[in-house]
Each structure stands twice: as structure tokens, then as C-alpha cells.
């Protein structure tokens, strides 16, 4: 085992395939590291697998590296110890054709077996993404995986088109009577192969993809990409741009949380609350549109800062309006807390205990509602968050109601951070021209739905050689089934809304 250290960069530990599972297991289970994700890279002659972990503060980042010649496509699975890596391994198996020995269930994940034949490995270098694949031999006999074998067991297929205005996803709900015994989401109906499309494009073009693959949290993902590329190039983002980035990131969080609250009110059919939350969300969209030109904050980020400056008084005005929206949200929370018909549907339903949340590596508000207090803004600060006063709200219960309370509490913290950002706005420019260099780095951001990790490798010509996106919804979808199993069927849509999942983000 070898360990390399340079100030400010992750501790890179190179290990062999034999020691990999134990080492990852110790980091995750014994030393309280969180699993950020698995990054597979195909070099000229070798595979390089990078397992990224992070802890609080000085514990920093640990990247466990393992390599093997391209011809050897078998690695040991780490899911026995790090259950959070489950879907990462399934993804790598599907897209690179790497086999993970000891993984209980590989296949039919991103590439649906009823649409693609086995053996297509789209993330391999030799695969050309611009050519449509005409020769398709899908598995005609593909049938959904069924687990529950009991008298009266019934499988209810739901989706991909299943309700009013919903993202496309499929659920197999295995029920006995009223209760959902197993729920298996089948995702990736919306897979757009962003990671593959990014390869060979310039960093500026890839930024467009980063902003647009999951646009309800466009700013957070754009920011994670920029931070990764800026780390590679050693850019010094001007202080004013940093502060504005904080302001905009928190505005986005506030808006996204208002949207999530609206979905919860809607799922419980509480019409007036739904309307109130809808008003808040629309007002925040308008505030965003007014100061930045775009309701979802597109076209602001650029490598080295921001594409345009925002006037100080415009920010102050936006803040004032956001504070008004926050007081409406506070009033809404006060009324929801005493509406028993509403609480009945959320309390003690969809419980995710802390230990399970940890094992699944859940992220963001969902994890914090189950008592897992790890927020990247605090654990591994970026953009100067270490100098900002804010609390990381958490709850113990892990039920639907706890998740709702977290959303309200975080909205308050976001406004608190926006206030400090507006007060701290420096003068000066907002963009530093940067020179692209070859190299690779990880960028991370606490996005509204949880930690987002973007790995960017640039080649010598300023083109992106590898882009890996690990969005929070990927982790949270993995654990979503926990919240609906053993609960009644009619709770399903409510639990879905309390998890605030994005399919676009997960499917990439």
C-alpha cells in the first residue's frame, strides 16, 4: 500500500485488488468516512478505479486507487462493507463491462435489457457516441425481477408515465394486501449519457451540459464542475465572484426547498397549503429571473468566476424579497404544524433509521432528517463557507415529517447565509481568465438535494477527457425503497415527495 500527500489535495492511497475491500470497509465503517463515489477511468493500457471518501475537516479526502491491465476486467466488489457503492458498481459493470466479484446483482441497470443487447459498453473509449446504434438485439424475454413469493402477492408496475406532471421512472411495487413489501425503482429512462457526450468537448461546452442535465439544481452542478476544472488549472476565483456564487447557490437552495415543500403539500392534497407553497416557489423563481435574467440561473457561471456581475443593490433587493418569501414559508410551517390531517400522513411514516441511512450513504436533507449530520459546506468547505455563520439543522426521527421540518429549517439558514453574503460583497472584478492545463480533480458542492461530486480530467488541449458526475439523487434513489417498504400503499406518493428525488439528476 502506498500513500501520497500534497497540501490541499486528497490523500491518494494505492492498493491492490486483494486489499481493496478491507481498506474501503475500514474507511467507511470504522473511521467514519463517507463514500463519495467510484470513478472509473480507462487509460491507454490500464484501468484505474478511484474510490473517493471524505471525512469531517482535517480528516479530508481519501482516494483509494486500484489499477489493472485493460484485459483484466474483474475487480472485487466492496459492497459487502460499503453498501453505498452498490449502484456505482452496477453502473460501471453496465457501461464499462467491468465485473465486480461478489456483487449480488449486476446487469439491467442503466442499459435496459429490453432495449439493449448484452456486451454494449458505451463508456469504453472505442465507442463512438455520435453514431446512432442501429443494430439492436434486445432480450425479448426480459421480465422484471420479482422477489416476494407469498400467497396473495401482487406486483404493481407503475410508470414510466404514471401521474400528472411527473418525471419518468418506473416502480415495481410488490404488495400483499394494503402494504408495499418491496419497491424496486427502475431508473434511467431518461439516461442521456452526459458523461460520454462530454468526452472530447471543450470545458466551456461541458459546462453547458453540467448546468443542463438537472436544471432544477443547475447552479450547484455547474458550480461543482467549475470548481473541479478550476482546481485543475490552479485558478484564483476573484473574491467578489466567490461571494456572489455563495449568494446564488443559497438562492437556488431556497427555491428548490420551497418547490419540495410544495410537492409535499400537493401529495397530501392540502389545497390551500399547496397554493401557498406554490406562490413561494414562483416568487423565488421570479426573484432569480429578475436579478440574473434566468429563472433557473443558467448562463452565470464560467470557468474562473461569473460571466456577468450583479449590482450590489440588485442583490440587496433580491435578498429583501427573499426574506419576505421566507416569512411566508415560516407562516406556512406554523399552520402545517397544527393541521392534524396533514401530520397524520407524515408522522411515523416512511422511517429511515440513522444506521440504515449511513449504510446506504444517503445525502442531504434526507440524511440529516435521520440524524446524519454531514454537510459538505461544513465538512469540507468551499467558496469560503468556513467563514460564514450557519447551522446545519438535523432531526432524529427519520420520518416524513422530520424531512419536511429539515426543508423549512434549511430555508431559514439559506436566507441567513444570503444576508451575510450581501453584507460581505467586495468590490472588484468577477472573472479571472484562466489557462487550461492538463490534469484531473474532484469538485464538490452541497447541492440542495445533497452532496454533488464532479470529477473532471482535462487533456493538454483544454478538452475534457473524462467527466464523472455523482449527483445526490443517485445515492438517495438507492435508499428510497427503505421509506416505502412495510408501509401502506397510499403512503407511497407522499413518501416519494418527502424524498425530493430528481430523476433527471440521477439518470444523467
Amino acid at each position: 500500500m502506498q500513500c501520497g500527500f500534497a497540501a490541499g489535495s486528497p490523500c491518494e492511497v494505492t492498493c491492490t485488488r486483494v486489499t481493496l475491500p478491507d481498506l474501503c470497509g475500514h474507511l467507511f465503517l470504522d473511521w467514519n468516512f463517507s463514500f463519495a463515489g467510484l470513478i472509473v477511468e480507462e487509460g491507454a493500457s490500464e484501468w484505474q478505479l478511484r474510490y473517493a471518501f471524505y471525512g469531517d475537516g482535517d480528516a479530508g479526502w481519501v482516494h483509494v486507487l486500484v489499477a489493472a491491465p485493460l484485459a483484466e476486467k474483474t475487480f472485487p466488489s466492496i459492497v459487502k462493507f460499503v453498501h453505498a457503492a452498490d449502484w456505482h458498481e452496477r453502473e460501471a459493470e453496465d457501461l464499462f463491462g467491468i465485473h465486480f466479484e461478489g456483487h449480488p446483482r449486476l446487469g439491467d441497470f442503466i442499459l435496459h435489457d429490453d432495449a439493449w443487447q448484452e456486451g454494449v459498453e458505451p463508456m469504453r473509449r472505442k465507442f463512438d457516441p455520435r453514431e446512432a446504434m442501429r443494430h439492436r438485439k434486445p432480450d425479448e424475454d426480459w421480465r422484471p425481477h420479482r422477489i416476494v413469493q407469498e400467497p396473495g402477492a401482487f406486483v404493481m408496475p407503475v410508470g414510466p408515465k404514471y401521474s400528472g406532471v411527473t418525471e419518468s421512472v418506473h416502480f415495481l411495487l410488490e404488495t400483499v394486501g394494503e402494504d408495499v413489501i418491496r419497491s424496486t425503482p427502475r431508473l434511467f429512462y431518461k439516461w442521456r449519457a452526459i458523461e460520454k457526450l462530454a468526452e472530447g468537448k471543450s470545458a466551456d461546452e461541458v459546462l453547458l451540459l453540467a448546468e443542463r442535465f438537472a436544471a432544477t439544481t443547475a447552479f450547484a452542478h455547474g458550480l461543482a464542475f467549475c470548481q473541479a476544472a478550476e482546481t485543475v488549472c490552479g485558478a484564483n476565483v476573484p473574491p467578489r465572484a466567490m461571494t456572489l456564487r455563495v449568494f446564488l447557490a443559497e438562492l437556488e437552495r431556497l427555491r428548490q426547498h420551497a418547490g419540495a415543500i410544495q410537492e409535499i403539500c400537493e401529495s397530501t392534497a392540502l389545497a390551500v397549503a399547496n397554493a401557498h407553497a406554490g406562490i413561494c416557489e414562483e416568487e423565488l423563481l421570479r426573484i432569480s429571473g429578475e436579478i440574473t435574467g434566468h429563472r433557473y440561473l443558467f448562463g452565470l457561471l464560467t470557468l474562473g468566476g461569473l460571466l456577468c456581475d450583479l449590482a450590489n443593490d440588485a442583490c440587496a433587493k433580491a435578498l429583501e424579497k427573499s426574506q419576505k418569501v421566507l416569512s411566508q414559508l415560516n407562516a406556512l410551517e406554523k399552520h402545517l404544524r397544527v393541521s392534524s390531517s396533514f401530520l397524520d400522513r407524515l408522522e411515523e411514516v416512511g422511517i429511515v433509521p440513522e444506521r440504515t441511512a449511513m449504510v446506504y450513504g444517503l445525502l442531504g436533507p434526507i440524511a440529516r432528517a435521520s440524524g446524519m449530520v454531514r454537510d459538505l459546506r461544513r465538512a469540507q468547505p468551499y467558496l469560503g463557507y468556513e467563514n460564514i455563520q450557519f447551522d446545519v439543522p438535523f432531526e432524529e426521527e427519520g420520518d416524513g415529517y422530520a424531512r419536511l421540518r429539515i426543508l423549512f429549517a434549511e430555508a431559514r439558514q439559506s436566507v441567513r447565509i444570503m444576508e451575510q453574503a450581501v453584507g460581505a460583497l467586495q468590490s472588484g472584478n468577477v472573472r479571472e481568465r484562466i489557462e487550461l492545463r492538463a490534469g484531473a480533480a474532484l469538485g464538490w458542492v452541497e447541492a440542495p438535494r445533497g452532496g454533488a461530486f464532479h470529477w473532471v480530467r482535462l487533456d493538454g488541449n483544454g478538452k475534457v477527457a473524462r467527466y464523472r458526475i455523482i449527483p445526490p439523487s443517485f445515492a438517495n434513489w438507492h435508499g428510497f425503497h427503505l421509506s416505502v417498504e412495510k408501509f401502506a400503499f397510499q403512503d407511497f406518493p407522499i413518501m416519494l415527495s418527502t424524498f425530493d428525488l430528481s430523476v433527471a439528476e440521477n439518470d444523467r
Partner: protein
Amino acid sequence: MSQWVINGIRAGIKTTAYPGKPETAAGVTPGLPVGGDYPANDVNSLISLCPTRVFSNSDSQILVDPRRCIHCYRCIRDIERPVNWEQTYEWGTIRDGQHEFGQPFERSIHICVVDAGDCGACLNEVKQLNNPYYNMHRLGFFITPTPRHADVLLVVGPVTDHMKFALRKVYDAMPTPKRVVAVGACALTGGVFAESFVCARGVADVLPVDVEVPGNPPPPLAILHGLLVVTGRKTPATWAGSKTIKT
């Protein structure tokens, strides 16, 4: 319970005056570029700057194809000669060669929404149509979960490979007469996801599209305008200085 009624009344009326009167509030639209004069020396660099090829050139005039714009703002921000930009929102157009919609669509319509791989923003803007600011019900527009009750199919997203089959099935399940509204740059041209082995270049690759609403995402008012075009209550947008660029 009575508390909620009082709360509701206290909030007052938020609903936009549109389509009766124009909506003038700030932040309701991202706007779109418009064509016009442009210094001849800079035209070519402008054309190559736009990532989705919105601009084309004809005698020191630039022409725009608004359907292709993805709101990256690179043609107006941090650039010496910004193009003209207009904060309009009446963007719904009838696709070339499609007919008038006629009597079956004149009154209330039921809309089935299919997400064919969008980024979440278009869908979120469609969702906003039900918030009190837009309240689409007052205009007789209703979202229906089932294609069997739908008059109009509203599609967002570039149509991913995995969604093609489901989208086709939804369309086939709808009774005739039926119309298809494509919403958002990705649904019109594939947007940033075009030129890929897993995405079509928009809905028209899979279904006959009747009405198109550009924007990335189009704001709720633009989507509302597109629906009003279907019902014949608003005239389709006419873009001065525009030219459709085919891929």
C-alpha cells in the same frame, strides 16, 4: 380547518391578467435573442460563438432561429457587441405544414404531460401552471394523468432512447382528434443533448408535432401561450428576422 380558509383569503388574488392583458412583472421570462443589424466583421465570430447554432447571416443582418436557443447568454454577456434581446414570452408557433386545430380544441382541453428525458426545468415550469400565479384551470386547461382522456399531448425533453416506446404508446392510446405540443429547446431540436446515440433530436423525430414552444426552459407564460394557440385563442408567434436552421 377554518384557519386554512382564512389564510387562503388573506393571500389575496395573485393570478396573472394574461391572456387578457400582458404580464409586466419582472422575472417571468428569460427572453430570447432577436435578429437585426450586426457589424459585418463580427458576424462570423458571433455565429461560431453560439453553441447551438442559433444565428445565421444574410447581408450584414443576423437571423435567429429561436427554437435552438439554450439561454447560455454568451451572445450578450462578457462580449463586446451583444445581440438584441427581447423579454417577450408569446413564443408558441404552429409547426410548418400543420393545419388549424378547429372546433374540437376550442373549449376546455385535457392535457397529458410526458417527460421524455427533460432536465427537470421544463417540467417544473409546466408544474407552475397550476400555481395561483398562472392557474391554468381558469382557462379550461386541465392536466390528466391518463392518455385516454387527453386531447393534447405535451412533451418535454429530447426523447431518450428508453422513452421512445412509452411516448409512442401514450400517443397511440389517445383518442382522435389529438394534437402534440413540444415544449422546450430539447423537445424541438435536442438542445445540448442532440448528436447522441441515446437521444432523438426532439419530439418530431418520433411523433407529428403541431405546436412548438421554444425556450430552455420556456417560462410558464410561454407554455400557456402555446396552449392558447392550440385552442385558437391566441395567434402564433411570428419571429421577425428568423430563419429555421435544419440539422
